[in-house]
Symmetry: C2
Subunit: 404 residues, 2 copies
C-alpha cells in the first residue's frame, strides 16, 4: 500500500466515448475509499483545466450523481484537443505539485499516455513523488499492448446496429449505400459493421479500411460485382482511407482544413461520402446511390452501450486507483484476453503505449482488401456484445396465375 498522502487528480482527453465516464467514475469512487487520499479533484476540459487550475472537488459529489454520470456518454469532466508539449507537461507537473496532487489519472488515447509519460518523468526528475496512471479509452481501438480499448465496443455496437438497420432499409429500397465510419489510421470501428450481417446476402458487402490502399478502380469494380450478385450493395468505409501514396482520399475535399493536431479534418463533413457516391454514379449506371457519414453520433449516441465495454471501462478506472494506491506503481492499464471471452487487467509501462498507435493486424483483413476475416469476427463479437434481433419473413411464394 502506498503511504503517499495527498490528492488525486483525474482528467479526460481527446474524443469522448460512450463509456469514458465509467472509467473516470471508477477511479474516483475507488480513490475515495483510501484514507491517504485527502481529496479527489477532477480537471475541467482535460489538461487545459490542469494548467488553468480549473478543478471540481469530486470528494463532494454524491455517489448517486457520480453513478448517473458514469452511465452518461461523452466526457462529464469535459475534454480538450490540446496535445501537450514538454513545456506544457512541465506546467501540468507544477500545478500538481502546487495542489499536492500525489495520484494523477488521465483517461485518453496514445497522446494522453504520452502526456502521462512526460509528467511522470518531470515528477521523477524533480524528486516529487507522484503516481501517474494512464487509463485507456478510444473508439478507434488503436492503443498498443492492450487487447482492446474501452469505448471501442460501444461505438462498434452503434456501427453494427446502424448497418443492420441500413441493410434492412436497403433490402426494402435497393441501391448502392455508402456509410462512412470514423477511423483515421485504424479500421477497427469500420470493421465492426460486419456484425450487421445475419443472412449471407446481408450487407455490408464491402468494407474498406485505412490499412489498405483505396483505388477508385477497385471500388467501382467491387460495387459492380456486388450489384450483379445481389442487386444492391452496402459499403462500409473508414474516413481515413488512403490512396497509393498514403494520402487520405478525403484530404482534397475538405478545403484543406486541419484539426488542432495538423491532420486533415475528416469528421463533421459529408464530403468523402459524397465523393464516393459520385465515383459510383460516374462509373456505373446505378441510379440509386446514397451515402451517409456516421459522424459524431457514432461516438456519443445516448442509449447504445456494449455491456462488456461498460463493465471493462469501469474496471480499468478502478484498477488505475488500485495500481497507484495499493501498489504504488505508474503505468497504463491494459487488458489481456485469457479466454473466449474473459479478460484480465495488468499494468504496462507508460512508454509502451505512449505516442505510437497501432492498426488492424493483417489476419483480420481479407486478401482482396475489401472485407474482414472470421478471425476478426471472433475478436470483435464479445466486445460489441449482443445486438437486437431482426428477422426476415419466411413464407412460401404464391404461384403466379398470369403466365409471363
Amino acid at each position: 500500500m502506498s503511504k503517499l498522502q495527498g490528492k488525486v487528480l483525474v482528467a479526460q482527453g481527446g474524443g469522448p466515448t460512450a463509456v469514458i465516464n465509467q472509467s473516470v467514475i471508477g477511479a474516483v469512487l475507488e480513490a475515495r475509499k483510501y484514507p491517504q487520499v485527502t481529496h479527489v479533484y477532477g480537471a475541467v476540459h482535460g489538461v487545459r483545466g490542469i494548467v488553468n487550475e480549473d478543478f471540481y472537488d469530486l470528494t463532494e459529489a454524491t455517489t448517486h450523481n457520480l453513478e448517473a454520470v458514469a452511465r452518461t456518454p461523452s466526457s462529464g469532466l469535459l475534454s480538450t484537443r490540446d496535445k501537450p508539449t514538454e513545456e506544457y507537461c512541465q506546467k501540468i507537473f507544477e500545478v500538481c505539485k502546487r495542489y499536492d496532487i500525489r495520484y494523477f489519472f488521465y483517461c485518453g488515447g496514445n497522446d494522453s499516455a504520452d502526456t502521462c509519460r512526460i509528467v511522470n518523468q518531470d515528477a521523477r526528475k524533480a524528486g516529487y513523488e507522484m503516481r501517474v496512471i494512464h487509463i485507456p479509452k478510444t473508439i478507434d481501438n488503436d492503443l498498443k499492448v492492450t487487447d482492446h480499448c474501452p469505448g471501442y465496443g460501444s461505438a462498434g455496437k452503434y456501427v453494427a446496429q446502424a448497418f443492420a438497420g441500413v441493410n434492412l432499409d436497403n433490402r426494402a429500397l435497393p441501391g448502392v449505400y455508402i456509410g462512412v465510419v470514423m477511423g483515421r489510421n485504424a479500421g477497427f470501428l469500420t470493421a465492426a459493421s460486419i456484425l450487421a450481417k445475419k443472412y449471407p446476402d446481408d450487407g455490408p458487402h464491402l468494407i474498406y479500411l485505412p490499412e489498405r490502399t483505396f483505388t477508385k478502380k477497385q471500388f467501382v469494380s467491387d460495387v459492380k460485382a456486388v450489384m450483379t450478385k445481389h442487386g444492391r450493395c452496402i459499403v462500409a468505409v473508414s474516413e481515413g482511407i488512403v490512396d497509393a501514396k498514403g494520402r487520405p482520399i478525403a484530404e482534397q475535399f475538405t478545403g484543406g482544413e486541419k484539426d488542432s493536431h495538423g491532420n486533415a479534418q475528416l469528421s463533421g463533413t459529408g464530403a468523402l461520402g459524397d465523393l464516393l457516391s459520385q465515383w459510383i454514379k460516374e462509373g456505373t449506371d446505378f441510379k440509386r446511390v446514397r451515402s451517409d457519414t456516421l459522424g459524431y453520433i457514432q461516438r456519443s449516441f445516448l442509449g447504445c452501450v456494449s455491456e462488456s465495454d461498460q463493465q471493462e471501462a469501469r474496471e480499468v478506472g478502478e484498477k488505475a486507483a488500485q495500481y497507484a494506491i495499493w501498489h504504488n506503481r505508474d503505468g497504463s492499464v491494459a487488458m489481456r484476453r485469457v479466454g473466449d471471452y474473459a479478460i484480465e487487467y495488468f499494468l504496462t509501462p507508460l512508454e509502451t503505449v505512449a505516442r505510437h498507435a497501432t492498426s488492424m493486424p493483417d489476419k483480420y483483413i481479407n486478401k482482396d482488401g475489401n472485407g474482414v476475416t472470421e478471425a476478426f469476427k471472433s475478436y470483435v463479437r464479445p466486445l460489441v456484445g449482443t445486438l437486437p434481433t431482426c428477422e426476415r419473413i419466411h413464407a412460401p411464394k404464391v404461384a403466379k396465375l398470369k403466365k409471363k
Copy 2:
C-alpha cells in the same frame, strides 16, 4: 361482420420506419383469425409486387417468424417508390380481382392512401366487392386527420437520443454543430430534437423547419447570439428548409438529382450540412464548425423504438383488419388523442388522408422561427417516450491557489 369470403392482401409503400412491420404483422395476424379469410398474401416491394403478382403466402408463415419480423425495423415485405397513376391502380385492381383478393391493406403515407382511394373507386365501379384500408405510417408525421403517425415516435426517439449525445459531446469539445434531419415538407422530426434538452443551456439551441423561411443572415446571426451566450451552439435543421421563394436550400447543391417523384434529392448526401457549415465559417470567426447528416440511419437504426409507437403501430394494423372484416368498411385508420396520454382509433374516409400532406401547426413553432414551443413538447413527449438518462457532474469548484 363482413360475409365477404376471399383473400387478404397486405403491402407496404414508401420509406421504411422502425415499426411499419408491427402494422403489417398486426393486420396479418388479426386477419388469419377469421374463417372467411382463405389466405393472407403479402405483396413483395409494395404495389410493384402486386402488378408483378409477386406474393408471399403469409398464411403459411409461423407466428414466431411474424412476431420476430414485427420487432424488426424497415419493411419486411420490402417497399417501393412507385407512385401509382390511375392506370397503375387499374392494374392493381385487376390483379386483386384475378386472385380473389377481398381485403386490401396498404401501409404507407399520403401517396399510399391515394392509391387505396383509387383502387377502391375502381373496385366499386366494376361492381367487385373489396374492402380497402389504408394503414398510416410515416416518420414525417405529416398525414392529415390522425393526431400523429406510427413511425414518427421511434424516429423522433432516435433524433432525440442523437442530439442528446451530440449535446454532451459538444459540451466536452465546444463549437458549432449542425445536424441535418429528415423532413421535406414537415418539421416534426427535426422538432423532436428538442427532447434532447435537459438543462437550460443544453442543445439543440436552434431548430429550423421547412415551415419557415430560412435565410443565411438570420442563421448566422442566430448562431452568433448562441455562441455569445453559451460558447457553443447546436443546430437541428430539416433537410427541407426553404428560401424566401419556397425553394429548398439543398436543391442547388445536389447536382439537380431528382428522386422518383421528381423532387430534389435531399437524403443520402452531406451537401446541405456542409453548405451550412460553410456559411458559419464565412460569416463568423468560429473555428470548430461541424455538421452531420442523420441520413437513413434515423429511420432504420436497429434497437431504437418508442414503446408507444410500437404498440400503436401494431394496433393500427389490427384495427385495419377489424374495420374491414368485422365492420365491412373502407377507410384510413387514424388516432385521436383523448387524454394525456391516451388515444383511440377511428376510421376516416380515404379521401381525407389521400394526396395532400400536412405540416407543423403555427402553435408549435416559436415566433422567431428558430425553435419550438412548450405546446409542441407536450404533444411530442408521449410519442417518443422515455429517453435513457444522462447527467452532469454536480460538485463544488476548487478555489484557485494561484492568483490570476
